[in-house]
């Protein structure tokens, strides 16, 4: 095997890990970065997106529309959750963790009762292609492009739209924004819905690649949290570079020792990074800049 195929293999694994980390983390990062709320039910929003996607695909819709349905349904559930629970807890960040954990428990067990222990999956589309001795799934490339697309869309949303400007104003000084006539409660609701929708999108995108079980959220949640912790509060200065760094750690460790060591590598990375950079990468960058 020549060097080019090795390089391609490494790049492919990096891209796969990067897509997984960024897609599973960005919903969490939006909610945390904008609202300071850690959503422990994040994994269950991902599960919701995946289930809705699978259900709509079984009902005959094409996969992209199914993913869209999963995203929208998750966002709507997010609005409901924000109205019913999160809204009352903004001044108690630790309690939001506890409450969202309760929600996660309800969602996991509720899904188990209502839908059963597994759900029929969706086949992975697009097939595969051959480089050197190995074959690669085209869908993984699609996922990588989706991750980049999501980052670009978020950047555009928060920098170029009216909602983005209002949201950033609300995040900086909520009282000032409210005094200027911004409906901050609405902004918080929409931001939470946005984060939940992104989680649903991640679930929908990964639905064709994994088995659908009520506890599938737990597969994503550790990677998502690790990325957000390392990235810090800013989605673009934090989550994206953290995804890049962690993808290198994960793909190198995985190809060296296997999947479990990839995850252990992530854990060691997070423990070392929080010791050195307690506010994450974005905290470090922002301090350097100001």
């Amino acid at each position: 095997m020549d060097i080019a195929t090795h390089v391609f293999s490494a790049l492919y694994q990096f891209g796969d890990a990067f897509a997984f980390l960024v897609l599973s983390a960005c919903g969490l990062a939006v909610i945390f970065g904008m609202m300071g709320v850690i959503n422990l039910a994040h994994g269950e929003f991902i599960m919701c997106g995946a289930y809705v996607t699978a259900a709509t695909v079984h009902a005959g819709l094409p996969l992209p529309l199914g993913i869209l349905a999963g995203t929208v349904v998750s966002a709507l559930v997010g609005v409901l959750v924000e109205l019913a629970v999160i809204r009352h807890l903004y001044d108690r960040p630790l309690d939001t963790i506890v409450a969202t954990w309760g929600l996660s428990l309800i969602a996991t067990q509720g899904t188990l009762i209502m839908v059963g222990s597994t759900m029929a999956g969706v086949g992975t589309p697009f097939g595969s292609f051959q480089v050197g001795d190995y074959s690669y799934s085209i869908y993984r490339i699609v996922l990588f492009c989706s991750a980049l697309g999501v980052l670009a869309a978020l950047y555009a949303l928060f920098n170029w739209t009216r909602f983005g400007v209002l949201a950033r104003a609300t995040i900086q000084v909520p009282h000032m924004a409210a005094a200027l006539g911004v409906d901050t409660r609405l902004i918080y609701s929409l931001t939470f819905a946005c984060g939940a929708g992104l989680a649903g999108l991640a679930g929908g995108l990964y639905a064709p690649t994994m088995t659908l079980v009520p506890t599938m959220g737990a597969t994503f949640i550790m990677e998502a949290f690790v990325t957000v912790v390392i990235g810090g509060a800013d989605v673009f200065l934090g989550t994206a570079p953290a995804g890049g760094v962690l993808a290198i750690v994960k793909s190198v460790m995985t190809s060296w020792q296997g999947q479990l060591f990839g995850q252990i590598g992530l854990l060691v990375a997070v423990i070392i990074v929080v010791r050195v950079l307690p506010k994450g990468i974005s905290g470090f960058v922002l301090r350097e800049r100001t």
């Binding site: 630790l94 506890v98 996660s104 996991t108």
Partner: protein
């Protein structure tokens, strides 16, 4: 006598609810009932009660770290699992002769505490606080669960003890107390009941003394305002680390007792659901007080078991609802609220009588 009285006075203070002859009279009555309980019950029910008691230690650990210290740790089940597996590995390798099980208990709890020192150093000296602390501890716990779940192959063993992956370890000996003539084996009935009850009373009283000492006051000061505590000259990192390690040791006691009680331990005892349950007991009971934590844990556990028997799979949904409602409606905990109400009632009653 004066020494005894001064010790007694140390049990009361601003950090714990309950003082005076009324409270301690009630305490004595409850203790007497608990001591007499096996006389009126059968072995199975007593063994089941021990199961409840076993969980109180991990609840107390969360009460210390979260309720008093203000750092939300999701990692208590990690220490639970480490100590449980530690006990299993030690006793499967070295047997139970000469009271070694008690030594294994101490070593296993020590391993859990050592792990807490390592993890706590990185967290508290990295000045991680608030929500990040919760995430890091949760990530560590889930990682440990995944690690233990993949140790199914025969290459995963420590000495002669196979780790057995997802199915977990089993057939470790129960706790044994060396006794001239015949050693006392503490199976999961009356023997273990008195052992665990004694340990529980000692730990409860010791924690009362600790939390009402100057150490406890500093811990609460850090919870209320870390910057102020630091300005007053306390190295808050050290205090937080010590609290974390004490909590880990308590969770470890739970782990060892659980393993010795059921003679098995599985990786799912460290999973998401297992990690959520202590949080529910402590939050519902009232996290900022030791007594309400103990009462809350026992009440919620009993309710959970009753629900599991009658409503089976809905029990967890109900627990989740209970947790969300507690956080929304009674953030200080239901049991603690009732206790404060009783305290006010008693105060009014004594005032009127006087």
């Amino acid at each position: 006598m004066t020494g005894f009285l001064s010790l007694f006075r140390r049990l009361e203070g601003p950090q714990t609810v309950g003082r005076g002859p009324g409270f301690w009279g009630l305490f004595a009555v409850v203790l007497a009932v608990a001591l007499a309980y096996p006389l009126f019950s059968d072995g199975y029910t007593v063994g089941n009660t021990v199961y409840f008691f076993v969980w109180v230690f991990i609840a107390l650990s969360l009460c210390i770290i979260w309720g008093y210290g203000g750092s939300l740790s999701f990692g208590q089940t990690a220490f639970f699992g480490i100590a449980g597996y530690g006990y299993g590995v030690l006793t499967l390798n070295f047997g139970s002769a000469y009271g070694f099980t008690l030594v294994a208990l101490v070593i296993a709890v020590g391993i859990a505490a050592l792990f807490a020192v390592l993890l706590g150093y990185f967290m508290f000296f990295g000045r991680i606080a608030g929500v990040f602390l919760g995430i890091v501890t949760l990530a560590v716990t889930l990682m440990l669960e995944r690690f233990m779940a993949q140790t199914a192959g025969p290459e995963w063993h420590i000495g002669s003890a196979r780790l057995n992956g997802f199915n977990g370890m089993s057939a470790m000996p129960p706790l044994t107390i060396p006794w001239p003539g015949e050693p006392i084996v503490l199976f999961a009935d009356v023997g273990l009941y008195y052992f665990v009850l004694g340990l529980l009373v000692v730990v409860y009283l010791a924690l009362r003394i600790l939390m009402n000492s100057s150490f406890g006051n500093v811990i609460v000061a850090i919870r209320e305002n870390p910057e102020r505590a630091e300005m007053l000259g306390y190295d808050i990192r050290k205090y937080q680390l010590i609290t974390f390690v004490i909590g880990a040791a308590l969770a470890g006691i739970s782990g060892v007792l659980y393993t010795a009680w059921g003679q098995y331990i599985t990786p799912s005892s460290m999973g998401m659901t297992a990690a959520a349950l202590p949080l529910i007991w402590v939050a519902v009971g009232g996290r900022s007080d030791l007594t309400s934590t103990v009462v809350g844990t026992l009440v919620v556990l009993a309710a959970f078991q009753a629900l599991t028997i009658y409503g089976s799979q809905y029990a967890l949904v109900f627990m989740g609802v209970l947790l969300v409602l507690t956080v929304l409606i009674a953030p200080n905990g239901l049991v603690l609220g009732v206790m404060h109400w009783l305290g006010r009632l008693a105060a009014r009653f004594t005032q009127r009588a006087g």
